[in-house]
Symmetry: C2
DNA sequence: CTGTTAGCGCGTTCAC
DNA sequence: GTGAACGCGCTAACAG
């Protein structure tokens, strides 16, 4: 900036004014300054600017558990979109489901003075995200609810979606519906199990324990789990799968049998309509999760300092059922 | 920091030293300072720190065209991984293939003093990324080669992959192989077409113009394009598809016909082995593209100022063929 | 071992 | 309209 000032034969202050589009600069001076800026390829240092203005960095942090999962990359896309509209940049961190990584990332983001952050929490507790330990940086949780703290949250309607999909299977005449899910420790898994169960109860049914498998966390695991359910003499006639990975595994098992076992599945996927068994998927807008999280965060950022801290807000992104009859 | 200093009854400098883990501080003072830090929940401001140290922000920019595409989210994941290992954070921007957005993002990232950036270029020229306009911020291109500038680049072996997949079809006895691709303006599309063509030439074949479609850019478009090829009386017995979206569309067309038309396709996808036609996919490690890009960038960052600017480097991520016989 | 001075790049405040 | 002084939060260089 000094160089520009020297070249334009003005003070640094005048350069600052021109770049800030301050009116009180003569047209002639402005032209001189802009010429110098051009010639030197000068760019104002936004970091120093924010420091001087006492502002945070103009960035929002996004901490996800697994960017390779389309759900989270869509979430990131949605958040980026809203952030962009407000002139904010997104700083990305991937925790690989490790709480320790999450802790470090969050610390680092605060030290970098992000305006706020969106976190998909990896662990059982989010105490380290509490205002009294984190300071004034606003936090919004996405995908999983807060535990041990209060915080704005965006969730997917896990219960409702699982309920509707299961109900659909029941309506289609299925009376023995297996459950292939990830470990119940995961919130989404637990909620989706609740939905599966509730749909049964409402129909006066009780799922048999032998039809329930809750240990799989990848495709081969899910395939094996589905096989164990389907190999029984009283095998279920349909399977409810709690996420896209589980579904792919279960489909492999179902397909091998050619038994026509129906599937219901959380998470839509592109080839769902091309499978050779009936598939009912629970679809939802993952981008919207990111957009809503970003909006909640922006609200908090604007609200800052004002008012006696609003109570935490929670929003649930709806799901809808898509039914494919199977080819 | 002043508050901490006051509370610990030392100077700010001492606090700075303790936090920097400078040895020359008495154990007693250190303890006092750390206690004060703890009590106040103080966190050093990394932004001010970097400013004072004359360093960039400790972040690297990543500008992609479409984060919803798994290729780019995997790329981001790979880059994040390497950045993380070096204590750098990733700042993300999505251009939605708009050059204007890319320009703005790049400008902004430079103003934020990123250490460097990885860009998946959206437009036909990357003049705006040239060192003389961007300044000293290092740039690495990913997925598409530089045009109008010199720059380090990471590419996928588009030509080789397309060549190998097509050759495989030919080896399997196919003599009429259709081409369903995106517009040739895209580098990847052009390269993959070259591979398709070269494999034919080497086998003494020449693809018929009527078997070549190069306009599709989404799934329905690809399905329609494939239908047009397959509805001919001299329909090809196999189709080469230039990317995952195209493949999904083409499969829909192929499947409807039950003609047993074989597919070869760039980009692997999870259900490739479950389709009811033979599918040959060109698979590659998208994470690796991001990792290599990050490494190239880190090299440039380290090299900075030293030496008389090394020549641009280029690396090509290999592909491999996976063949599925069709169920 | 610890404190003081000075300044990273910028903008507010108050002069001229 | 324009400039000088001062400070955002931090630390290198030099004192002591």
């Amino acid at each position: 900036m000094r160089d520009v000032a020297a070249r334009a034969q003005v003070s640094a202050m005048t350069v600052s004014r021109v770049l800030k589009e301050d009116e009180r600069v003569s047209t002639a001076t402005r032209a001189k300054v802009l010429a110098a800026v051009e010639e030197l390829g000068y760019r104002r240092n936004e970091v120093a600017r924010n420091l001087r203005l006492g502002r945070p960095s103009g960035m929002i942090g996004l901490v996800v558990t697994n960017l390779a999962n389309p759900f989270y990359s869509r979430l990131a896309l949605g958040a980026e979109q809203v952030a962009e509209e407000h002139g904010l940049r997104l700083v990305l961190g991937n925790t690989a489901e490790q709480v320790q990584r999450e802790r470090e990332l969050v610390e680092d983001l605060v030290s970098r003075r992000v305006d706020g952050m969106i976190v998909v929490p990896a662990g059982a507790s989010q105490r380290h995200l509490a205002p009294d330990v984190l300071g004034p940086t606003p936090v919004v949780l996405a995908g999983r609810p807060p535990a041990g703290i209060e915080a704005d949250t965006v969730l997917v309607d896990d219960f409702g979606g699982a309920h509707a999909a299961t109900a659909r299977l029941i309506a289609d005449g299925h009376r023995s519906i297996g459950f292939v899910g990830n470990p119940p420790a995961l919130f989404t898994g637990a909620e989706r199990f609740r939905g599966y169960w509730a749909a049964h109860e409402e129909a006066g049914l009780t799922p048999r324990e032998e039809w329930i498998s809750r240990g799989a966390y990848d495709i081969p695991g899910a395939e094996a789990a589905a096989h164990r359910l389907l190999d029984r003499t009283d095998a279920p006639t349909a399977l409810f799968c709690t996420n896209n990975r589980i579904t792919l595994g279960a489909y492999r098992a179902v397909r091998g049998l050619r038994s026509g076992t129906a599937l219901a599945a959380f998470d839509d996927f592109e080839m769902a309509d091309l499978l050779d068994v009936p598939v009912t998927v629970v679809a939802y807008d993952a981008d919207e999760v990111g957009r809503r999280a970003a909006r909640l965060l922006l609200d908090r950022i604007d609200e800052k300092s004002a008012a006696p801290r609003q109570p935490p807000r929670r929003t649930v992104v709806p799901t809808h059922i898509v039914h494919h009859t199977g080819a």
